[in-house]
Every structure is written in structure tokens, then in C-alpha cells.
């Protein structure tokens, strides 16, 4: 696997070339935060600003969420890891961005670390893939053996619980929610503005973080992300109260894969599962 420093070099070289040739007007990557372990998302607009770019094991942010914030037709280059590339594919599927406006810099890497805890994160929270699904330029060699086990193994413990135990688990977790909406902010697929939570007719949930309001917010978001979530784990990392939201999203991704035979963000010409139907969908899933 290409050494991380080498990837950073390649990133800077490509960013400089793209900006100087005006092929793109902005390069989305990472820059130093207040220290090495806490990088920040960074938009380099001129060749000079490329110097600030860095890439290390802590650059976990999913930059795809910024693609929907730029006005249409802006040419953007974006550095994406495996999971982030699936987010880009999903956005293209939903026609929120156009492939021709993007230059995708793929980063094949395993071993990202969670800035908060410093632990390695790939097995537990992400989609377990090493190579980006879609890229124009690859900033390192492709990784052959992506390691055994499926991303859904981590669900075994929760799935083994009986319903009452699972309910008390989630009830406790949701009660911690302070409605800061960081999870919504961090998610590349949550681009609705205003969100259903901001509606007042009907008021789906009360504005203050009451138990039932939290329940409605999180369960509805799980539904909105079903078949669209690319399992990057950013929502849990962004959550100040450490609610393991990624587990629920992972479970939904697993169910969608088994029921509809399609994983999110894998192929550009797929249609998102919830706005599609299969004649061969069996009624068993309703039993």
C-alpha cells in the first residue's frame, strides 16, 4: 500500500497542476487544524494555497458533503477515500452533481484513525473497502487484499439482543441527543435545506430534545438514508454525545442489500432503491 506521505505528495502535485491549468476552480482536500491530529476540510482556490494541503491518517472527513454547496457548473476537484467515492457516485445517481463537473482524486488507503480517540477505524465503522469506486486520478497503487470479514459483522452483538434489550439500548442512546444536528451536517447525503425537522405544518417533532422528538428525528433520518447511506461512519464521529448512529445506518444498508440486492453508491446508473421498485420484490419482506 502506498505510503501516506507519498499520497500527500501526489495530492499536492495534482492539485497544483489542476489549478494552474484552470481545469478546476477549486480543490477540496484537507489542511492542518490546530495540530497534526485534527485536520480541517480545505478548499484550495489558487496554486499558492496548495501548500496548505496535507493528508494523514486523521483526514476522516467525507468531503463529498461540500459538493452540493457549490453553485451548479463549478468545476471541482475532490480528494476521496473509498467510502467518500461511493458518496460521490450516489450524488451523481441523484443528479445533485454532474460527473463532467468533477475531477475525482482517488485515495486507496486502509488504516484511517479517529481524531477523537486515535484508534484505527476501518473495520468497525466504515464500509470496509480500500479502493475508491470511481476516480479520475489515483493517488496511490490499488490495494489488493482488502481484508476478510464484512462491514456488517459489527452488528452481530446488537442483532443478537432481543427486542426489549435493543429498545432499552436505543432509548438510552437517543435520550443523549441534544439536537445539535452535527450528524445531519456531516452526512454527504443529507443535503435537504430546509430539513423536515424544520417544518411546522406538520410539526413532525418538537424543537426541544424531548425523547419522542429525538426518536422521530433519528428513525425518520434512518428511513431517509435507507439505501443511500454509503457507510462512511462520519455521523458517529461527528456526534458530540457519541451516539453510535452508524450502527443503525449500517443495519439499514445491510437490509437494503439483502432485500433489494443493491448497495448504495456503487454504480452511477443505478437508481436509489427507495425511489425504485422490483417486480420480483417478494412479499416475504413484509412478514
Amino acid at each position: 500500500m502506498t505510503n501516506i506521505k507519498q499520497i500527500e505528495e501526489n495530492l499536492k502535485r495534482e492539485a497544483k497542476r489542476l489549478l494552474e491549468s484552470k481545469e478546476v476552480s477549486v480543490v477540496l482536500a484537507y489542511a492542518r487544524g490546530y495540530d497534526e491530529h485534527h485536520p480541517l476540510p480545505y478548499a484550495a482556490r489558487t496554486a499558492g494555497e496548495v501548500g496548505n494541503l496535507i493528508f494523514n491518517e486523521y483526514c476522516t472527513y467525507n468531503l463529498a458533503r461540500y459538493l452540493t454547496k457549490y453553485p451548479p457548473k463549478t468545476k471541482i476537484a475532490i480528494a476521496v477515500k473509498a467510502a467518500d467515492s461511493r458518496a460521490v457516485v450516489q450524488l451523481i445517481q441523484e443528479e445533485k452533481v454532474k460527473k463532467e463537473d468533477l475531477v475525482i482524486l482517488g485515495i486507496p488507503f486502509i488504516g484511517m484513525k479517529d481524531p477523537k480517540t486515535g484508534e484505527e477505524i476501518d473495520q468497525k465503522t466504515t464500509c470496509h473497502m480500500a479502493n475508491p469506486v470511481l476516480y479520475d486520478i489515483l493517488l496511490g497503487e490499488e490495494i489488493r487484499d482488502a481484508g476478510a470479514g464484512s462491514p456488517y459483522d459489527v452488528l452481530a452483538e446488537l442483532e443478537a439482543m432481543d427486542q426489549a434489550a435493543r429498545w432499552s439500548f436505543w432509548e438510552k442512546e437517543f435520550s443523549k441527543c441534544i439536537r445539535c444536528f452535527a450528524c445531519r451536517k456531516a452526512c454527504p447525503m443529507c443535503y435537504c435545506d430546509p430539513c423536515f425537522m424544520d417544518a411546522s405544518r406538520p410539526r413532525w417533532a418538537d424543537k426541544s430534545p424531548t425523547a419522542d422528538g429525538n426518536l422521530m428525528y433519528h428513525l425518520t433520518r434512518f428511513y431517509h438514508l435507507a439505501g443511500r447511506c454509503i457507510d462512511c461512519g462520519e455521523c458517529s464521529r461527528a456526534c458530540p454525545m457519541d451516539i453510535p448512529l452508524h450502527l443503525f445506518h449500517k443495519k439499514m444498508a445491510k437490509e437494503c442489500e439483502t432485500m433489494f440486492g443493491q448497495a448504495a453508491g456503487m454504480k452511477i446508473d443505478d437508481k436509489p432503491v427507495m425511489v425504485n421498485y422490483g417486480n420480483q420484490d417478494s412479499d416475504e419482506m413484509l412478514k
Binding site: 422521530m216 435507507a226 443495519k251 417486480n279 420484490d281
Partner: protein
């Protein structure tokens, strides 16, 4: 007085609601625990409705739609099937007892099937007892 479950029925106007009417015109007798909301198509049902129904204290939710292929709007219930399937999985993973949420395809000519399902569902729910998972006490809930 033993426990009488409250079931919220959401029925599609063209098939299940008409089927329920047919059960009435043929004077079939079935328990009166179901209160039905009529919607134009089973695809009108938003998963948030189901979550809200359980929050409002429903002991069971019965969604009724046309058989796949019979939908008055063509493909409405095919989308609904996926939406309701994922809703079932959300409820299950969150910890709601699976037997409290039923989705049945009941056509306009299946009055007896409607009556049988309501009877069976009421029996199951009586065994399960009241639903206290999502229920929120009435007083802590302001009016919409």
C-alpha cells in the same frame, strides 16, 4: 376488564377500504378494535406516520393496500412495499415488537379476508398486551 388493544388501520381507498366496506355489507362480525384512516393509496403512507402512530399509543398498526399489480395508480403499492418493508426493519431494529406492525394486501373483493385479519391481529395483540415502547403519555404531548 381485560385489555382491549387499539389498532390504527391505514387503508387504501380503492382496495382495502372497499374490502372493509364489503365485510360490512356482507354483515361479517369482527372485533371493533381497529380505527381506520382512509388514504388514496398505500404509497401515501409515510414511515413517519407509523412511528407517530405508535407514539400516539397505538397497540398495533395495520396497513392495507391493493395486491401488487392491482394498484389503481399502477405502481403505487410496489413503491409502498419497499417503504413499508424498510419501516418494518427500522421498527424491529429499534426494538418495537414485530407482531405489532402488519402490512396486508387486501383487494376490494376480499371482505372476509379483511375481517379474518382484523380478528387475528386483535387476538395477537391481546396476547402481547399494551404497547409501551414508543408510547408517550398524553399530557406530555402538546396539541399539533
Amino acid at each position: 376488564m381485560d385489555f382491549e388493544p387499539k389498532i390504527l388501520g391505514i387503508a387504501c381507498n380503492w382496495c382495502t377500504y372497499t374490502g372493509a366496506d364489503l365485510a360490512g355489507t356482507t354483515r361479517l362480525k369482527y372485533p371493533q378494535n381497529v380505527r381506520t384512516v382512509r388514504v388514496m393509496c398505500s404509497s401515501r403512507i409515510n414511515p413517519s406516520f407509523i412511528i407517530r402512530a405508535f407514539q400516539l399509543g397505538a397497540d398495533g398498526v395495520l396497513v392495507g393496500g391493493c395486491h401488487p399489480g392491482d394498484c389503481h395508480y399502477g405502481t403505487g403499492n410496489l413503491y409502498a412495499r419497499r417503504k413499508l418493508a424498510i419501516t418494518k426493519k427500522i421498527l424491529e431494529f429499534a426494538g418495537m415488537d414485530q407482531k405489532r406492525f402488519r402490512v396486508e394486501w387486501i383487494s376490494a373483493s376480499e371482505g372476509n379476508k379483511y375481517a379474518e385479519i382484523v380478528e387475528e391481529f386483535t387476538r395477537d395483540l391481546k396476547a402481547l398486551g399494551p404497547q409501551n415502547t414508543f408510547r408517550i403519555e398524553k399530557d406530555s404531548r402538546e396539541r399539533i
